[in-house]
Symmetry: C2
């Protein structure tokens, strides 16, 4: 990955640097994405990066963008794998469950990318007050869609739909953070699995307003 010796004109240094950044971030998180590390890994002088990024922050954002897409993909794949033989009501809830578990498992498996994906949103304050829609991000969109589908399937009352995304995201993000940086990180994997399942179940109950299984129409 680091010894493409097409000499001088590299060909596609921009993407090479992003790829190296992704590689560093994977284990080291946002802090590991430094201009010097990344250019060194690409076999190029440090300032070469300035041909392709305005500064370090610009590079970090580009890398974070990919981390966010990786998260979105992990969620999408898990949702897509929902068994096809479920009743529509059950399926709509199962999809929400999968969104949550995929988010948590991504954080656990790809801690550095998870940090980076969340971190990005931190420095987006471009133009004063923004509506949330301005920074809607792929993983969040998947959550929104899943909740909307629950309303259609009749497993989430329309009057409970507003703000449900925040309750879901909070629960799942909070657990991810606790599992990655908090005390839970010291627990054995199966214990963490069990806690994650429990947290997700509580979140689902919380937004639906009941722990009862849905009655099929």
């Amino acid at each position: 990955m680091s010894e493409d010796t097409r000499a001088y004109h590299h060909g596609d240094l921009r993407h090479a640097l992003i790829a190296e950044g992704l590689d560093r971030a994977r284990t080291g998180g946002p802090a590991a994405v430094t201009l010097r590390e990344v250019t060194r890994a690409a076999g190029v002088s440090p300032n070469a990066a300035y041909r392709h990024f305005s500064d370090r922050d610009d590079l970090v954002h580009a890398v974070a963008n990919l981390a966010q897409r990786a998260l979105a993909q992990a969620i999408a794949e898990r949702v897509a794998a929902t068994p096809a033989d479920l009743a529509p009501t059950d399926a709509s809830i199962e999809r929400l469950r999968r969104v949550g578990l995929a988010y948590i498992d991504f954080a656990r498996a790809e801690r550095g990318w998870f940090e980076l994906a969340f971190f990005t949103q931190d420095t987006d304050a471009t133009s004063g007050i923004v509506t949330l829609d301005d920074e809607i991000v792929a993983p969040f969109k998947l959550l929104m869609d899943t909740l909307d589908e629950m309303v259609e399937a009749g497993t989430l009352a329309p009057d409970r739909r507003p703000l449900a995304e925040w309750a879901c995201w909070s629960a799942v993000h909070g657990f991810a953070d606790i599992a990655v940086h908090g005390p839970v990180r010291l627990q054995p994997e199966p214990v963490i699995d069990a806690l994650a399942a429990s947290v997700v179940e509580a979140a689902i109950t919380g937004v639906r307003g009941t722990a009862e299984a849905p009655v099929p129409a």
Copy 2:
């Protein structure tokens, strides 16, 4: 705070350094607690710190400890202010609500301390596998007690009690993180208040298993 000129023998440099660290952390979080900054603020040479702390990490932990206590106190105060005229059932739920809102509001009001308080738990992996009880921390204990009291008051079914703390902490911690570092931080304060209330309500419903108000005994 920084010009105690009791010359040379400072008197209580250890606590002075911790106090300065707390001051720096308040706005800058863990990263702002540097030996050089803190000693500079105390009017002392950088290496003087090594008389009282084994290294930087040692100092950071000492400071983080106080941040954690500040969080615990904020929660305790808010819980203590629960109106006395509530029915015991309502009061037990109201207390849980207050634990959650206090946690979130502390994070919003004291962002740096919040980061530090959570951060500490990160580097406590002293002796291999530890039981959770080993690192039980004041704010978490308050949550546990509150949930136990709900069981006693009959507002939380005993079979729903196990693991309830994780669902609560996750929801509230996740929202705090989103409100402090995530997209929600860009919203006006009253909007954040409303979202926080909604998230806490969902968390309570989630652990109780129902959105119904309790029936008094």
